[in-house]
Symmetry: C3
Subunit: 398 residues, 3 copies
């Protein structure tokens, strides 16, 4: 009896997969009188911070794509919309809208953040823009590198429309100085970005690392089309005229498996049309510790940390309670150097945020986060104020 | 010769499926002079009433999700966006945005309605809000129960933003008094909902059970961001200040397989900031009869009736004409008690709608509906008026 | 030993598949002084021209559906949203929103265009409207025919709302006079469309075959809800009152496998409320030649040309460079006859566009296009002007 020949099913292209996730946040704000005087009365809220669906798959054996949209902000906004070819003579090539290679916290997936939002230093990053990127790993995945050219500042749909400027570059290199796998890692990284913003306009702004309501679009008039109601920016330059910008960032992280210390410091050299050069800067330090012993894995192709997967996924009846993590973060961003500069409409302000978080990972793809943030805000004319936020998030992804 | 071991393919999580449907409606309006004086000249129209896509699947063996959006109203609105865990010690637990457990017609899927829209009593229901619900069946699926806590009034994207109030609960219990399966069923149910609306603002409004054009967002300023053009509300309190609301509902249904009589009555106790308590109420009776003999199935986990599936799906060449159903409904909603109350800007009005429908089920997932509605409207200052609507719907789902 | 019975897996309905694509365009504009005076200073731009996701599949053995939305224009707009039944006694029947059977370039998929946009004659076509269509092929797929009735002018979400008018029909028939397959084809076609536009309002407008920024909605007030910033229409009547319109179109194409000449000429008889009848007309000729020898295939069910598939998909390391095509097009559209007619607010204008394109097909589903357009614009009061556009597109689909 001859063996049955099992015909190997041939892979056909293109293929597709649907992925998605949602984050349901609740936040309560406790403001000092000075905070209310500076920021207005911030309203408590519950809402979907992000609700994304994506189609992703392969175009050919070596080319892949992602089309991801976020439905949580009244418009279906572009998230990752790109195609890429791997293993070209120039490394991997990606075209479309994607996160530019600048910043370890920026390149950590929003699904994997130990806090509800990225640190306030996020304001000083190009983040998602539309362009083309070369990237790869080297030295047996102990080094990652990426260079990118893009149009900026794009709106929420990936578009730049304007004759003046609108170009930028970003470059990043990371290395593992110590690489003992899940036992011990020392990561360092350097990032730079050059921006010649479209219409010669720029804005730096950030909330206090918690957000409910509608998220505004930043940037030149015409990019934002919706009335906005939500947590106001704590630091905010408003839209101001600019010649060009150079952003610099240094990254460092020390991992010992279940624990992690991660820090970045960055500064932005802003060339104003007056010829003056102003530098604004910010930084943060994060510490994480997984109480139940799971590893915070390092993603060697992204050069950033990934997802905590519970060893014993939540099953109350069996006495399995998932994974638990505590985390702390201090971040600071000082936009006061731009206050009073010609054409700068906003106050700028300086914000120092201190956060503690308790994260409860139910399964690999479901979690609940609790966070407290204290924001110390310095307004150049109104002085210091104090804002406390208590927030929670439920997140599911597939 | 050993038997070939067929390796059972292991189920992997998460998984996904894409589902969706669209409803294409056409409506003609015939108004008396009084109707035009009261409501303006309602324009005829054709359009997509709903066009929804959803990703749905399992997160783990016991957890599932749904992310559903409706593209038919200019914005991609949130429909069902939730995750749930089954068989916890507290029953099934659902978190996110979903239909609150209040009202048999509300918990009947919009895909399965014998008329184009739910009855006008729909105005007195919390419907989709963002929260957490416990629910299950009992007594061999002869009883369903659900309790839910939520934020309210949420916008079309599931968000509540405002310091004052914004909380609600809903509870529902149903039972089958007679349970002879497809032969005879007697269903009863009781529902309650407590609302402390966000920003202390409320609005009750309803069209005459037919709608074309853009569907307005109800509720406080800031939730609605689009200019609206469509069928105006027949009854409408406008946005008014409120302390709290208690909603009560009783359900009854008598099914004999191919036939069904279903009725609900509900009332809303509204506590105004003046200390006054006003009650508005409404009810409906629906009768359905499937001419071709198919059963209108009872969904034992939802406590509501489901989909008519033709025994002989439409195939003209073979002489198969699908399933045919006739239905009638009378509904009433009286908002006049709120007319003239302090802070109530609208007329309120009282609406009695009488409808007849002819439904042609082509296949399990394609149908065509024809409906005539006569709306008798009583305006507290303009008196009685008469509006007739002729409408049709084509619906396909997958 | 008995043979193993391989149970044929039964096909279950409904099923689904997700498809999608995006087009990332960049355009630079070089305007004469007269062009700037006539059109304003057109801004350069980069952006997603289209970014579409669709769910498509079968409802039953003989019925299928498509639900496609475009996320590129700030709102998730309806594209193809329809269901259809094949092989009825009346041919195939399609219900919903789809491209009306008028125009060979209109019925060529936007994924397969040799230029970035359809020719300016596109302004004189009903294109996507909501209705019902019968269509089929005949004479061994050497003939295609289609007749359709629809509501018009629908907004971007497929809706028509208004008592006055709002109806239209479209009819198309095509035939292959010579049919030697990939070797030689001669295609001819005739199209007609009758329009009684909703609210008795019409607008004819077109850019110069390149577009960046936000695409406006055309038509009566209330259909467009967004502020618009993008390439202005070169020819534009503005919204004007109209009784009815008859559109006529003739198609001709000569294919010799790797080469193709295609042309259409169309005219619109516009009955104004004044009783006057005005005719506007336009046409184009396109020539294409695939340098690498691939065939431009003829789609026998659509009566239009399809996708160039590289014989040697791009693989630089192996020396495979995909397929290369050159193309040229001249198109003209003269709206000046409407200038000065009662109620016509716009200038009309006459536009003659000359384009050359170089298309690089990487794989079957990835390509890059380069195009130069020279637009000669005649304004009835400002005279002639000259606009040059250099543009590129990257497109991936799945």
């Amino acid at each position: 009896v001859a063996p049955i020949a099992i015909k190997k099913e041939e892979k056909t292209y293109p293929d597709f997969k649907v992925t998605g996730f949602f984050q349901l946040d609740t936040a309560y704000f406790d403001q000092s009188d000075e905070s209310i005087a500076t920021l207005g009365d911030i309203q408590d809220g519950t809402g979907f911070r992000r609700a994304r669906l994506a189609a992703t798959g392969n175009l050919t054996e070596r080319a892949s794509y992602q089309m991801e949209f976020d439905f949580a902000q009244a418009q279906a906004r572009f998230v990752d919309v790109w195609a890429q070819i791997k293993d070209t003579p120039f490394g991997n090539v990606r075209i479309g809208r994607f996160r530019q290679p600048f910043g370890m916290s920026e390149l950590t997936s929003i699904r994997e953040l130990p806090f509800l939002e990225r640190p306030t230093t996020f304001a000083l990053a190009p983040f998602r823009q539309t362009g083309i990127m070369l990237f790869d790993t080297a030295a047996d995945e102990q080094i990652t590198w990426a260079v990118s050219g893009f149009r900026t500042l794009s709106d929420n749909f990936g578009n730049v429309y304007g004759d003046n400027g609108g170009y930028g570059t970003a470059e990043r290199i990371t290395a593992l100085l110590v690489d003992r796998g899940d036992c011990r890692l020392v990561h360092i990284g350097f990032d730079h970005s050059y921006l010649n913003p479209g219409r010669d306009q720029l804005q730096y702004a950030s909330q206090d690392e918690i957000f409910v309501g509608q998220q505004p679009n930043l940037g030149p008039t015409g990019l934002s089309v919706f009335p906005i109601e939500g947590v106001p920016p704590f630091v905010n330059t408003g839209v101001f005229p600019v010649d060009q910008v150079n952003l610099f960032n240094v990254e460092g992280a020390l991992s010992f498996g279940r624990g992690l210390i991660q820090s970045e410091y960055r500064w932005s050299n802003v060339d104003l049309p007056t010829g003056e050069n102003v530098t604004v800067e910010g930084g943060y330090v994060t510490a994480r510790y997984v109480l139940t012993g799971e590893v915070i894995p390092y993603n060697r192709t992204a050069g950033a940390f990934g997802r905590v997967k519970p060893k014993r996924p939540l099953d109350v009846c069996q006495g399995d309670w998932g994974a638990w993590e505590i985390a702390g973060r201090v971040s600071t961003l000082d936009l006061n150097p731009l206050f009073g500069q010609p054409g700068v409409p906003g106050k700028g302000r300086e914000l120092t945020s201190s956060s503690v978080a308790l994260n409860w990972y139910w399964w690999a793809n479901g979690k609940c986060q609790f966070e407290y943030v204290n924001g110390q805000l310095n307004d150049p004319t109104l002085g210091d104020s104090d804002t406390n936020t208590f927030a929670s998030r439920v997140q599911f992804d597939f």
